[in-house]
């Protein structure tokens, strides 16, 4: 079910909300939470019921392993080495991580591996052509983090219902933010969150309306031009190529941040605060700054569970650089099983290495130039992220630096791209509202109503496009 579908907006979300609080009102706390897990699984199964057993098995397996790790960690601390533990925590953690990664590898990367093996060895293994389970990368990463923290003794013994809610809670289930058990579990367990809070509902509605507008009115418009340039046009002139790449740059931002806004807004209706995932990333003045603003929860995961375990910046400069590069190549691979994704990750890793070296050498740059370089680098790197084939990427990139100055682009398209740039650079982002005291002023009420109204019209007028990040 899409957040921007009428079924979600007019049936699923209001019904879930009212029934959840009705059950809580009747003091049926377990029933209410169970209901929320049930509707979340229903939401997940809406695309394809075949996905359901996988997420259930994954959830159950990680809960059992996590709890065992948690107990072992406690026992190990208590008894030091006096008590012999049959299976060490490290082995259990390794098994847990291997099983999770194997699941991801099997469903997401097997065909990519077979394809490359065929290419290298000349043999012809048949691809598995498996149906990629929805959001598998998200719930796998989320649960790996849980296992690692259980091993470190940083988790408590949660009950299964709260754990199931942590994994399946529908606002964040499909495309994040990648939530951490430390920020979610206390919220699910808190009795303070079991009553309807109109301030949260108002804020949730306001943020949801902004996200919906970003997605269906802005991102879907840019998507048409990006698709035309990348997938349909055989050749592009210079202006068309720039319009194509910028359209995708803005599409991705408005689509993904719009989705996150909707997730945060929907979660707030249930008194759950999801972490911030975007903070005006295109205002970044360097690539490190960009990754502190773009998909913040993924950056946090990669830092805590890949970069730091690899040694982070505690070893030699060379190791720091290679750790950075490896982390971002893994990040690229997480986004998709393809060489273009890996190359995109590599480009970002290299940019971070160069930025670190530049900073270590104490060089400075004018802010406007720093922004120009960062923005254009990100824009160009997205070409590899978006292109289905290398040829498409080369087509767009080559045309961006061609001398074909023919002007054939629609004036309105140019105007909207310029408007998009102005919005991402000069407007405050929706997440800044979460930091301030929220009043729901008359202006905000009118904005909420207008955004909802225009978005509902736009949904009907356009085809409901799936969010880009569902594929990852």
């Amino acid at each position: 079910m899409l957040f921007n579908s009428y079924e979600f907006l007019f049936a699923f979300l209001p019904l879930s909300f009212f029934i959840y609080f009705y059950l809580l009102n009747k003091r049926l706390v377990v029933g209410a939470k169970g209901f929320l897990v049930f509707v979340s699984l229903f939401f997940y199964s809406w695309w394809n019921i075949a996905y359901l057993p996988l997420i259930l098995i994954s959830m159950l397996f990680n809960y059992v392993v996590g709890n065992s790790l948690n107990k072992k960690s406690y026992e190990e601390n208590q008894s030091k080495s006096n008590v012999k533990i049959k299976v060490s925590s490290k082995t259990l953690l390794t098994v847990g991580i291997v099983v999770n990664l194997s699941l991801l590898a099997y469903f997401k990367y097997a065909d990519f591996f077979i394809e490359n093996l065929n290419l290298l060895s000349g043999i012809t293994l048949q691809p598995l052509n498996l149906l990629l389970p929805l959001a598998i990368s998200f719930f796998t990463f989320q649960q790996i983090a849980y296992l690692v923290d259980s091993y470190r003794g940083e988790t408590k013994e949660y009950d299964f219902l709260n754990y199931a809610l942590f994994v399946t809670f529908f606002p964040q289930l499909i495309a994040g933010p990648i939530v951490h058990h430390k920020e979610m579990m206390p919220q699910f367990a808190s009795t303070y969150n079991l009553v309807k809070k109109y301030k949260n509902i108002a804020l949730g509605l306001f943020i949801f309306s902004i996200g919906l507008f970003k997605k269906v009115v802005i991102a879907d418009e840019f998507a048409i031009w990006a698709t035309n340039g990348f997938d349909k046009a055989e050749t592009l002139n210079l202006i068309e190529a720039w319009a194509t790449s910028l359209s995708y740059t803005f599409q991705l931002y408005f689509d993904f941040s719009g989705y996150t806004d909707m997730a945060i807004g929907a979660a707030l209706l249930f008194n759950i605060k999801l972490p911030i995932n975007f903070n005006s990333p295109y205002k970044a003045l360097n690539i490190q700054d960009f990754w502190r603003r773009w998909h913040i929860t993924l950056s946090r995961f990669l830092r805590d569970y890949v970069y730091i375990p690899l040694g982070g910046n505690k070893l030699s400069s060379f190791r720091t650089y290679s750790n950075l590069l490896a982390t971002f190549v893994i990040g690229g691979l997480w986004h998709g099983a393809g060489w273009t994704f890996i190359f995109w990750g590599f480009l970002h890793g290299m940019a971070l290495v160069i930025h670190r070296a530049w900073s270590n050498l104490g060089f400075k740059m004018w802010n406007w130039l720093a922004w120009l370089i960062t923005f254009n680098f990100v824009n160009i790197a997205w070409i590899f992220f978006r292109a289905r084939e290398w040829e498409d990427a080369i087509k767009v990139l080559g045309s961006m630096f061609s001398l074909d100055l023919t002007f054939t682009t629609n004036f309105l398209e140019i105007l909207i791209i310029i408007l998009g740039l102005i919005i991402v650079l000069s407007f405050r982002n929706s997440m800044e509202l979460l930091k301030r005291k929220f009043q729901f002023t008359l202006f905000q009420v009118i904005i909420t109503a207008s955004f909802l109204f225009i978005s509902f019209l736009a949904i009907r007028l356009g085809k409901a496009n799936e969010f880009l990040y569902f594929n990852f």
Binding site: Y198, A202, T408, N410, V445, A449, S450, R460
Partner: protein, 342 residues
Amino acid sequence: MNFYILTFKRKIFLSLFLVLLGFILLDIALHIQANRMTTKNSYIIGDKNSQSNFFELNKFYNKDIIFVGSSRTYYHISTNIFKKNDIDIFNFGMSGNQFEDYPDAINTIIKYNPQKVIVSLSVNRLYENLNKVKNPTLIDLKYYFDTDKILFLDGLLSYIKSFHTFFTYSEAIFYRITSFYNKFNINQQTNVSSIIKNNDNIENYADCEVYDIKKNPDGNSNLKCRNGDGILVGNNIKEEFINKSIELKNLNKNTISYIINGIINPLLEKNIEVTIILEPIFKANYNYDIKEIINKFQNIKIVDLTQFYIPKEKWADNGHLNNFGRHYYSKYLIELYKNNLL
């Protein structure tokens, strides 16, 4: 009242009320605009109510023939060619509609006492289940109820939705937005209307007074006439489809019952002659038993034109004739009518 003393709860209701108010105002505006666009000289193409209102506003009593059908009637029948042959007809073809929509049209038509009603449909549909209707009316629903309860429920939902006028006109609005966007294209595609105006040769394309010309996404031009006809100009045939023979077996009971009860019987009860044309299909390769079809429909004439050959250049696309094909087809129907075969 100071806005800041309103509680969050009231502000939430206010914002949702504003959304609802927006929709109500939009619906009222669209309703008024739709009424304004339905006059004695024009109606909204594809809108059943608008077409019926157009028919009623003109009080088309005692016509020789009324053609009822889908876009394949709307674009295929030339009122003026019939007129030149002293046959007074009305083209009740409805673009975007299918035979499941016809009961409503029939209900309007029977009030005006035509001599003959000719209903066009594709032969394959007689073997298929009933389809959902996009915008059913209460009349359509009545026959749905008698024939298929599931479709009735689905139709009822669509009927309720149709009270939200925006739903009905959203496609038209979308095309207007697209058309507005295309005005900003640097390389404007050649506009047929300008060709027509510049060359002053409208009669080559239309035999009626044209009041609207649009470019379809496939490149064909779509002309609307004040007398209720539509004309497609262009030739955009796609021949790559597999031309394998399709066996049509077992007439669908529900479909036949719907046609008999919803379309044929109301006309026969008013002593109006009924003919069913099995309409021409480009490169039709259906195998079926026409006798079985004739046996199912008593007291009416069946004219099977499924395999009627119309040259490729007379088709606008795989489903519709262009201006040349329309002329050719109308002439052929006139011959049939004069020979009492229609």
